[in-house]
């Protein structure tokens, strides 16, 4: 890996750790969401077992949106975004690396925690594994798509809600295939690998395309 990009990864992770909370706060948010769901729909374990994967996927999606509006905003405010643009490294690569670092600090903890919270939703071990694997494969897609929304709203003081409006409809495919992969792992008519393969394709495609869109949005800021 080239020097500038690896130092960018180190910088992002160091910032995420010092600011604190990013990852662990997302996990707590996930726990809170999982806790309030039974209060809304009742403690029926059969029902919870049936909708558990879906709830965990939606909760992870929302938890991932939480910190996403800050992805480029801090860099934009203190001017380091301008510095990153001036550097020799293409902005697309910078965006890609920032997404990876953000994914590692906020989504990875969710991927680890969500299957464990399946216990609260009466999930079987296979199902918990399915949730974990499908989130691991699908969550990068949501980070990449979210990065486009974050780049579009970077100049707004309160862009979080608008970013959610922009990003959530675009996350529907990932949600559909992620939940059906998780459900398939719990037993069903669909083989587990079919939705998982589509999910992987979504992640790869968004990883290939979204950095270009986000970089185009960020580059326009300076004009």
């Amino acid at each position: 890996m080239s020097g500038p990009l690896s130092s960018l990864v180190r910088r992002e992770i160091a910032i995420a750790r010092r600011i604190g909370g990013g990852g662990s706060m997302g996990v707590v948010f996930l726990l809170v969401l999982v806790t309030i769901v039974p209060f809304a729909i009742g403690p029926d374990l059969n029902l919870l077992r049936r909708i558990g994967p879906a709830i965990l996927w939606i909760a992870s999606l929302l938890a991932m949106l939480l910190g996403l509006d800050r992805l480029f905003q801090a860099d934009w405010e203190d001017g380091s975004l301008d510095q990153l643009q001036l550097g020799a490294t293409p902005l697309e690569a910078v965006v890609f690396v920032k997404c990876l670092a953000h994914w590692a600090t906020t989504a990875l903890p969710l991927v680890v925690a969500a299957p464990l919270m399946g216990l609260l939703m009466a999930q079987e071990p296979e199902s918990m594994l399915g949730i974990g694997v499908s989130l691991l494969v699908g969550s990068p897609a949501m980070t990449f798509i979210g990065a486009v929304g974050a780049a579009a709203t970077v100049s707004l003081r309160r862009g979080g809600l608008l970013m959610a409006l922009l990003v959530l409809p675009l996350c529907i495919p990932a949600l559909i295939f992620g939940v059906s992969a998780a459900n398939a792992a719990a037993g069903g008519t669909v083989p587990f690998l079919t939705p998982l393969a589509v999910l992987a394709a979504l992640t790869l495609a968004s990883g290939a395309l979204c950095p270009f869109a986000a970089a185009a949005l960020l580059r326009r800021l300076g004009e």
Binding site: V148, T153, P169, P173, I176, V198, L221
Partner: protein, 252 residues
């Protein structure tokens, strides 16, 4: 090509074009509605409710057509930076949202007598609902970003990202639908279309397209004037002209 990018040229072009298109719209819709209510037969299966189809299908078509128009304008914004492309893009979003909304409402009013419920998570209806969400998000983006040029660029990129996503969403919603719904549910494959139904439908669709074009041109003209007004207001304020400065309304 650059000639057409000139806002003054566009203003001069739409001045005669708007009345012509409006006239065509009125004639086509009048003929279409006459055919729909007095000539077209009732469907043997769906009865009179099939008359809803004549607005539902054109509205669905225009909901998608408006997105195509918006995407080409978005390309214009990103590649050539036409101010007119910005205006075309901004004006298409509310119109597309309106047609998509009409499509959803008529679809659900059609569904109630047919399916016995106002809403079915049918693949087509659901895709249209997602399209409406995308339109609404774009409108919110336009309203939130103050600076028009920055808003145009952000909206252009988001429009094109949405354009890439729409087939994927369509595909995944279809997949999701076959997964969750038994085949026994009434499918909207529709009745066999006879020519006595096809003609009114075509005329209504063309009329609705002209309606969209008319409204789009009127709206583009508004956006051009709005930008001109913004610029003049800034100039007037900068020049410190006291005359009437305090009474300028915000032009939004």
């Amino acid at each position: 090509m650059l000639r057409y990018a000139n806002p003054s040229f566009v203003l001069r072009f739409v001045k005669p074009a708007i009345p012509i298109c409006a006239g065509l719209t009125a004639i086509l819709l009048a003929v279409g509605l006459y055919l729909v209510f007095f000539v077209a037969p009732a469907d043997y299966q769906q009865g009179e409710t099939v008359r809803i189809m004549y607005i539902h299908v054109p509205a669905a078509w225009l909901g998608m057509f408006a997105y195509m128009v918006m995407s080409s304008a978005a390309l214009g914004t990103l590649v050539w930076r036409h101010p007119v492309a910005d205006a075309a893009q901004k004006s298409a979003a509310p119109l597309g949202a309106m047609f998509t909304f009409v499509c959803l409402v008529t679809g659900s009013l059609w569904g109630k007598p047919m399916w016995g419920t106002y809403w079915v998570w049918d693949a087509r209806l659901t895709s249209m609902l997602v399209l409406l969400l995308i339109y609404l998000a774009l409108i919110a983006l336009w309203q939130t970003i103050e600076e028009p040029q920055r808003a145009a660029k952000a909206a252009a990129v988001m429009t094109l990202v949405g354009l890439v996503n729409i087939p994927i969403i369509k595909f995944s919603v279809d997949w999701w639908n076959t997964l969750h719904q038994p085949a026994s549910v009434f499918t909207t494959s529709g009745p066999a279309i006879y020519s006595s139904m096809l003609w009114p439908l075509l005329i209504m669709a063309v009329g609705a397209t002209f309606l969209f074009l008319t409204l789009h041109m009127m709206s583009i003209r508004n956006e051009i004037l709005r930008r001109r007004l913004d610029r003049l207001t800034h100039l007037a304020v900068a020049a410190g002209e006291a005359r009437g400065t305090a009474s300028f309304e915000p032009a939004r």
